[in-house]
Symmetry: C2
Subunit: 208 residues, 2 copies
C-alpha cells in the first residue's frame, strides 16, 4: 500500500494563489489538499475540521493576521505544523510568525522545487531555517525590545505627530514624550525621529 499523503490546508486571501498552490501541490503524488481558507477565522474552522498534517499560511490577510491565526491554531493544537508562505519579508513579520509557532518561512516568489522540498522537509521535521534568515532573527532577538508605551509613541511619530502632540494625545507632558523618544532612538539605533519612523516601517514594527 502507498504511503499516506501529506494532508495540507491552504490559507491565503488571494484566490489566484490558492488556485496556483492547489494546482501545483495536487500534482504531487505525496500531497493532497484537504481544505482551503481565505481568512484567519475560516482557517481556524477548517483546521479543527480536518486537522491537516501541514498548513500553508499567508501572513498579511484582512481581519485576523497570519501570526495571530497561527497562535490561535497552536493554542488548540500544539502539534500543528504551519509553514508561512508570504510576499513580504520584514524582520518583524518573520519574527512574529516564528514566535507564534510557525515551522518555516517561504517567499511566494520561490520556484516549485524549493517550495515542494520545504513542504516535505517541514512535514518530516527536518526543516532548518536558511542561515540568512536565522542571522536576521538572531539580530532581532539581540535587539532590545520597545516597551508598550514606547511602541505607542513610535506609532504616533510615524503618523507625523510632534512631541507636544504625542504628549496631549497620551495625556502626558511633552518632557515625558521626549524621554520616550530618546529611549526609542537609542533602542532602534537611529539619530532622529524620521529615521525612527522609516526603520520602524521597514522592520515592520509599525504598520503603515
Amino acid at each position: 500500500m502507498a504511503k499516506p499523503k501529506i494532508r495540507l490546508l491552504l490559507v491565503d486571501d488571494h484566490l489566484v494563489v490558492r488556485i496556483g498552490l492547489r494546482s501545483l501541490l495536487e500534482m504531487q503524488p505525496d500531497m493532497t489538499i484537504v481544505a482551503e481558507a481565505a481568512s484567519g477565522t475560516a482557517a481556524l474552522k477548517e483546521f479543527e475540521r480536518h486537522q491537516p498534517d501541514l498548513t500553508l499560511m499567508d501572513l498579511r490577510m484582512p481581519g485576523m493576521g497570519g501570526a495571530e491565526t497561527i497562535a490561535a491554531i497552536r493554542a488548540s493544537f500544539p502539534a500543528a505544523r504551519v509553514l508561512v508562505l508570504t510576499t513580504f519579508d520584514t524582520d518583524e513579520d518573520i519574527f512574529r510568525a516564528l514566535q507564534a509557532g510557525a515551522c518555516g518561512y517561504l517567499l511566494k516568489n520561490t520556484d516549485s522545487e524549493p517550495l515542494l522540498k520545504t513542504i516535505r522537509a517541514v512535514h518530516a521535521g527536518t526543516y532548518r531555517l536558511p542561515a540568512e534568515v536565522a542571522a536576521r532573527l538572531a539580530q532581532r532577538l539581540a535587539a532590545p525590545e520597545l516597551s508598550p508605551r514606547e511602541r505607542e509613541v513610535l506609532e504616533l511619530i510615524v503618523k507625523g505627530r510632534s512631541n507636544k502632540e504625542v504628549g496631549s494625545a497620551l495625556g502626558v507632558a511633552e518632557n515625558t514624550v521626549k524621554n520616550h523618544v530618546k529611549v526609542i532612538l537609542d533602542k532602534l539605533g537611529v539619530r532622529d525621529r524620521t529615521q525612527a519612523a522609516t526603520t520602524a516601517i521597514q522592520r515592520g514594527i509599525v504598520r503603515l
Copy 2:
C-alpha cells in the same frame, strides 16, 4: 466556427500566481494563454513573439518594474492592451501604471468573476475604471508633481539624512536643500520631514 479566443500573456514573478491565473483562465472557453513571463525583460520578448490581445501584468517585479515594462511594450506596440494585476494599491502605483498606458487595474485578491469580467471588458474596450480609483487618480493628477531634484531630496529625507547631509550628498548648499524641503512639504501638504517621509512611503513616491 467559434469566435477567436482572447490571447493572453501573463507577466508575474510569482510562480504560484502564474499557475493560478493559467488554471483559472485556461478553463474559460473564450480565453487562451499564449505565453508567460516572470520578468519585465522576458515579458518584452514574449510580447514581441506572440503579440497577445491582452497582457496581465504584475507591477512589483525585480529588475524592470511593471510600469516600465508597460511603457516599453507600448513604445513598440502602441495598440497593446495591458491590464495591471497587483497586490498593492498605492496611488503612485496606479498612477504610474495608467500613465505608462495600462488599460485597467485589478487587485490580486479579487474573485474570479470580477477578474474574468474585467478581462473581457478590457478586451472589448468597454472597461471603465472603478469610481473610487478614478477619484484617487483625479486627486493625484490635481496634486502638484515633485521635480526630479525634489524627489531626490525626498529620498534622502526618507533615508533619515539631515538637510546638511543632503546638501553635501548632492553637492549643494544646505540653504538650497532647505528650499527644496520647503517646496516638498508644501506640495505634499505636510508639516515636517517625518510626515513627508511616511506619506512618501505610503503614496509609493519612494520605495522603502
